[in-house]
């Protein structure tokens, strides 16, 4: 992770429209192809099956969109930021568009752990007055039902405004509560139209 001869580029991108239906793995493959199409001087690992040195942020559930996804890419040469951004944008699909990029320290935390808090926006069909949040949610892990206490994960409560609400979840080292699963157990008084991750923070 911290080869000092490499340059570490952190890019943010959106995931919207039909492409919110992609799985984490499908997004990962697509981004690797985007980087190759962009012609950036990406670093390649050594060993039996060499692969691009790229790392992805926390997985987004299928069906949840985002305005703030992250990947980290290691480059063998310095590329000016605006040139890198332009190349990436030219190689990106509109609904999976890279928004910006910057260099980060070789030792900076990986994208997957650097931002344990995610803020989501849930949009409903009609104006929302209040959200009824259950105390616990039952999920299936390794084929066994498991009860998660919402309070353990909900870092900031649902803030209602207009046709929706905003809330923040914390990812724990032991696991996380999926935003779509949580919303599925909440009562908004109106059908949920979309869920979007709008910020990731430390």
């Amino acid at each position: 992770m911290s080869d000092p001869r490499l340059f570490r580029l952190r890019a943010t991108f959106i995931e919207q429209g039909r492409l919110a239906l992609l799985s984490h793995l499908e997004v990962a493959h697509t981004l690797e192809r985007t980087v190759r199409r962009a012609g950036l001087p990406y670093a390649v690992s050594q060993g039996f099956s060499p692969h691009m040195k790229i790392a992805f942020g926390a997985a987004l559930p299928v069906g949840v969109g985002s305005t703030c996804e992250i990947f980290d890419l290691q480059l063998t040469e310095y590329v000016a930021l605006d040139a890198a951004l332009q190349a990436l944008q030219k190689a990106s699909a509109a609904d999976l568009m890279v928004q910006d990029c910057r260099y980060i320290e070789p030792r900076a935390a990986a994208a997957s752990v650097a931002f344990p808090f995610s803020t989501y926006r849930v949009e409903c069909a009609d104006p929302v007055e209040e959200v009824q949040v259950p105390a616990s949610v039952t999920v299936v892990r390794k084929k066994k039902p498991k009860e998660l206490l919402v309070a353990d994960y909900l870092a900031e409560p649902f803030a209602v405004d207009g046709c929706g609400a905003t809330f923040t979840l914390e990812a724990k080292p032991t696991g996380s509560l999926r935003p779509d699963v949580l919303c599925g157990c909440c009562e908004f008084g109106s059908p949920v139209v979309s869920i979007t991750r709008i910020a990731q923070h430390a």
């Binding site: 039909r18 492409l19 239906l21 799985s23 499908e26 493959h29 697509t30 192809r33 390649v44």
Partner: protein
Amino acid sequence: MAAFESLWEELAPLVAKAERPSRYINGEWGCVYKPEADFRLCMVYPDTYELGQANQALRILVNRVNACEGMAAERGFLPAADMCDALREAGLPLCSIESCAPLRAFDAVGITLPHELAATNILEALDLAGIPLHSADRGEDDPFVIGGGPCAFNPEPYAPFFDAFNVGEGEEMLPEGLGLIRALRRQGAARPEVLRALAALPGWYVPSLYEVLDEDAAQQAGSWLSPLAEGVPPVVVKQVYGGFADSPAWEPCIVPYAEVVHDRLNVEVLRGCARGCRFCQAGMMYRPVRERSADNIVESVMEGLAATGYDEVSLTSLSSTDHSQIAEILARLNERLAGTGVRISLPSQRLDAFGVDMAGLVAGQKKGGLTFAPEAGTQRLRDAINKNVTEEDLFGAIDAAFAAGWRRCKLYFMIGLPTETDEDVKGIASLVSRAYDRARKAVPPDQKGSVQISASVALFVPKAQTPFQWDGQISPAEAARRVSLLRRSVKYKAVTVNWHEPKTSLIEAVMSRCGREGAKLVEEAWRRGARFDAWTEHFDEQAWADAAQAVGIDLEAAAQRSLPSSYVMPWSHISCGASSEWLAAERARAAEGRLTDDCTFGPCSSCGICFDLPVRNQLAAPRGKGGAR
């Protein structure tokens, strides 16, 4: 005609709930949209997205049609079973990928017929699309349904469902025919008039314009079909794309989001194979051999990788290591791709030391398994099928592979080939056992335990347009007996024999060899629930058995009967270029165990393709020592 408009809003809730939604969303990298077009084709692969997306024919034909001014081509796939049911329940039709428009709203629907087990899927797709299943029931507002691909070489069991077939390579033939449909429709021509005009184009077969004779009359007349109108040809000759060798090997492609089969850059380095294996339909269908040049291939690979971002390129063809410049191509690509992490792959290995050298050039440090296809266990049977491979070739390949670092090798065989005896079956056991001995000898003493040799055995399926088209398949019981004889004859526990219970092989043989009566069988099987027949978990043996009984076809007899070479087959009005006399002569040579030369190395064996069509073998350099055999 149904309105050409996107039904995405209606489909979206179904897609969100489907298993693998990425099968149904469009917007993949490389999609082409032509909203301004006034004539539209939807090219359909009759199976799911992940099986069809990488299909070469689909990709080429969509590109060719999109290259025509005013014409647009989109893709369509059969949804997976869960989505087929969801669409029906919601009352929604099958839609194209790009515009998400109903197939019914297209001017033409092309369906590729990739193998014998896709027939019920074609009916499933037409039914979901709301297009009448039978050509005879289609009206002026319905699309023209056009078939093509390997099974168009015996189109009879599909005939009633299609308005027309393309026989041979569609690069030029399809745009030409679509252009004709478009022009005639503009002039207000009615459907029958358009079909008659199509029948006059080379390579276009319009089944409704023929009368089907009964067996006796057919044998008398020398054909099962007799043209019903003037200008309808008694024999439809396959078309060959003459510009193949000189056209760019970079064929723009779509980069899917979903994981699909062959998900990599596929570059077609040559077309055709003249080795002349007597069971092989592809070898007959794609003759003559046409190679693209090393310069063309290397530049195309670089261009394709830059445009797609793939991390793997496959040099595809029926026999890529036979390319006269293959060593040069691989060396140049290795140099250009060094340090990029991009892998090169070859779809199959030629069975000799040279094949292993070539595999070594692309394997890098990672040496997984190698696969070879000797097909038969004894020299006698290999000669009978014209698989021009000796034990020296096989053992040379094994020595080279295991010395070079490979530890796993899989050998493919067929059981039930014409003239096969128990000696030949035991020969397979002997061959793999000796291959195992050779492999162990070729590796360092401490690694002998890691040597793995396995044999994969498939049941012979007689294919239309091959020298073995007249030969019957052995019965399932006989196949089981021979496989158990084989298993008993293998002397090492470490050598595994894989045999997949071939319930579908019977249907494959029937579909490959039957005439127009087969269409009734297909329709009845589909009505009884058969679909996705190529998927083990979906194949419904009972539906086919019941259907056969209902329509009065004896499946076993249809698959198993052997006929004299003078017998006129139900596809005799379709010519793959190799003449029926030559096929019969090849069958006779098989019985005598006589080999026939590969005409890209040796003399012409007069199969006839180059006599009837303005094409010849076209090699980038002479094939000979050095690079090739």
